[in-house]
């Protein structure tokens, strides 16, 4: 047992509490403590990633390991998949926080902002590490409740309205998830995920199984904003302060939505063919509709929010194909490609969508508008923002040599190998549409003729610029993951966890 695992939750919690206590007394205390906290978490995540080396670990809270085959307390699980998520969460968190140092200076109650920021990170780390259904629900609530407050942080009209919508739909999702957890406890008499799997491996009633799966797909689908459940996302992600939009779009919907969905359907439920079809279909639907809705937007952040729905669709579709291919059993190489492509795209999307929201924040910071029609000609006055956003746009539209190209390519190859020709065609088509609306964004924001006088507009301050440049470098650097030997060490442990579901139960409780 590695004693460092609970620190992923304990460190951000402690610094969140300290910031509220000392934030009013010591000036600038929170601005100093918050980046250090996130940096420490990132280092810890990277350390765990290197020391794990493809194995997985379980941590029994309070030392309650229990008799063999029957876990007693709450288990935390650190394996290839969760450690990658931890790295992404804390990396994007650190960058967004560094960006906030100058972006949030115009808001009041900064100490509360940084405290809530640490709480959202703590919640996400808790969700990703948890091996226990109810514990997962509790930490999910920690992160979403702090995100409700952060979305409405500016207390303007639109922020409050968006936050209310987000809260109602989020509350609905929580209810569905809680009901599902209750029903699972009724059937399996346990809330430990590995033991639930062991209980499901035997006999179960078909109707019950389907009902629970429907509840969980709609619950976590609402959190992840897959298409029929997406109503809250464009409002919440466009109204929030920009670093928070980057956090929400970059990592929150992945950590509390997709990650949990994948974890539950790969490691807790036994695969069924229907569920694979449903997941792949939902993914393809959000992919297409999200991109079509994004074209007609004139608000920069709204455009980016719809594009998030579309890119989330890619990831969900890849995992859905993975389930179907694993069930067919005759083409494991394609399944590995599909799942690996999904994870790779998840990492990439966190990086470039985070960067794009930071770019949008910079535009809003200097111009006080989010409307594309009021921008133009900014490529001269804001060269850094312009260059980084160009790189991110090319990356998200799948232009080589940026990372987005490779992850989309992997997904498309997997689709062709697995003989999902329709899905492959749709993925290519959506990629072209994506290129279309990002060219629109580039043209109207940076290259068109200026509407207003833009000479007075200067480049953004140092912390914001550094964060954007850092993420832009990552956009190029992550292309390295496409090299087989690199992806073998980085992505392979995560893929292994998902394609060998029994592994999860054995590390957890040794069944």
């Amino acid at each position: 047992m590695d004693a460092l695992i609970p620190l992923f939750v304990a460190i951000p919690l402690i610094s969140a509490f300290l910031m509220v206590i000392f934030g009013k007394l010591v000036k600038g205390f929170h601005r100093f403590l918050a980046p250090i906290t996130l940096l420490a978490l990132l280092l810890l995540a990277v350390y765990e990633f290197t020391s794990l080396g493809g194995t997985s670990q379980a941590y029994a809270m309070g030392g309650w390991t229990g008799k063999e085959g029957s876990p007693l307390g709450i288990f935390l699980v650190l394996d290839g998949f969760s450690v990658i998520m931890l790295c992404i969460i804390n990396l994007i968190g650190l960058v967004a926080l560094f960006y906030s140092l100058s972006y949030m200076a115009k808001y009041t109650a900064e100490a509360n902002y940084y405290s809530l920021f640490c709480l959202i990170v703590a919640g996400m780390n808790g969700v990703v590490l948890s091996g226990d259904l109810f514990n997962l629900f509790v930490f999910l609530e920690v992160s979403v409740i702090s995100s409700y407050a952060l979305v409405a942080f500016g207390v303007g009209k639109t922020e409050l309205e968006a936050s209310f919508k987000y809260q109602v739909l989020g509350g609905l999702a929580s209810m569905l998830i809680l009901l599902a957890i209750g029903l699972i406890y009724w059937q399996c008499k346990t809330v430990n995920m590995a033991e639930v799997r062991a209980a499901f491996d035997g006999s179960y009633s078909k109707a019950f199984y389907l009902f629970v799966q429907v509840l969980l797909i709609s619950g976590f689908g609402l959190k992840a904003a897959i298409i029929p459940f997406h109503a809250w996302l464009p409002d919440a992600h466009s109204s929030a302060p920009s670093p928070i939009s980057a956090m929400l779009s970059g990592v929150l919907i992945k950590a509390v939505g997709i990650y949990v969905l994948i974890r539950l359907f790969f490691n807790m439920f036994v695969f069924t063919h229907e569920i694979g079809v449903v997941i792949a279909a939902l993914g393809a639907l959000s992919m297409v509709l999200g991109s079509l809705l994004a074209i007609i937007q004139w608000d920069v952040k709204r455009l980016l929010a719809y594009s998030s729905i579309s890119q989330i669709g890619y990831i969900v579709m890849a995992f859905g194909m993975g389930i179907i291919l694993l069930l067919r059993g005759n083409n494991e190489a394609a399944a590995v490609l599909a799942i690996g492509g999904g994870i790779y795209h998840m990492i990439n999307h966190a990086v470039f969508k985070g960067l794009l929201f930071l770019n949008a924040g910079s535009l809003e910071f200097r111009l006080n508008t989010r409307n594309l029609k009021e921008m133009g000609g900014l490529s001269k006055s804001m060269p850094l923002t312009s260059t980084t956003s160009f790189m991110a746009s090319m990356s998200i539209s799948g232009i080589p040599p940026f990372n987005g190209f490779f992850s989309k390519l992997v997904i498309i190859i997997a689709a062709i190998n697995g003989r999902f020709y329709l899905l492959a065609a749709l993925a290519v088509l959506v990629s072209i549409i994506t290129l279309g609306y990002f060219l629109k964004f580039q043209r109207f924001a940076f290259f068109n003729k200026a509407e207003k006088a833009v000479e007075k507009i200067r480049e953004v301050p140092f912390p914001m610029a550094t964060s954007m440049v850092f993420l832009a470098i990552l956009c190029v650097a992550l292309s390295l993951l496409a090299i087989p030997s690199v992806s073998e060490t980085v992505l392979r442990p995560a893929i292994d966890v998902l394609i060998q579901p029994e592994l999860y139960s054995t590390t957890l409780i040794g069944i």
């Binding site: 509490f17 509220v20 809530l116 109810f134 509790v138 109707a207």
Partner: protein
């Protein structure tokens, strides 16, 4: 037991429907109180005194907070005009709900009926728990020892809500306005 709880549940459902249709918001909030306090009685019947205490206090505080919000507002819910589209919407909702109800009925068919529950994971929380935790109250033992990590999360949620309320209810959002 099943009969008593069913009767109370019937009252709770009536209270809930009234709360959703009451014209005056204050009466709606108080009708929600019926549901909450009905739940307290159910908890007592189901041998859950801890929950009864927490629920009665939390329900009271929720009512105080909601009444404080509603009290000097207009208090009247604006009527939704009932035209053809809303009729269609209601019908669709009822069909979906009937489907969900039927689905739920089938889903829980094979599960243990009321009172026939067997202990799985919770067996160790009952048998020998006194020696493990030293707490006579088994629920406290679960909350603060076996699953203390959940309780930390729960306390953090309440803390987040307090911090969030404090943040959302400050007068000025930005320094310049």
């Amino acid at each position: 037991m099943e009969l008593q709880i069913s009767i109370i549940l019937g009252f709770m459902i009536i209270g809930a429907i009234y709360a959703l249709h009451a014209k005056d918001l204050l009466s709606a909030v108080i009708a929600m109180g019926i549901v909450g306090y009905g739940l307290v009685i159910c908890f007592l019947l189901l041998k859950a005194p801890d929950l009864a205490i927490v629920q009665i206090v939390v329900e009271t505080i929720t009512l105080v907070i909601m009444v404080a919000v509603v009290l000097d507002s207009t208090r009247e819910e604006e009527k939704v005009p009932f035209d053809r589209t809303s009729l269609v919407n209601t019908l669709v909702a009822f069909v979906v709900f009937a489907g969900l109800f039927y689905f739920f009925l089938h889903a829980i068919e094979d599960l243990n009926p009321l009172g026939k529950h067997t202990l799985g994971m919770a067996e160790s929380y009952v048998i020998g728990a006194l020696e493990h935790t030293g707490s006579v109250n088994l629920v406290t033992g679960v909350l603060f020892d076996f699953r203390a990590y959940d309780t930390l999360g729960e306390a953090v949620i309440l803390y987040t809500a307090a911090l969030g309320a404090l943040t959302l209810l400050r007068m000025k959002g930005k320094k310049t306005d």
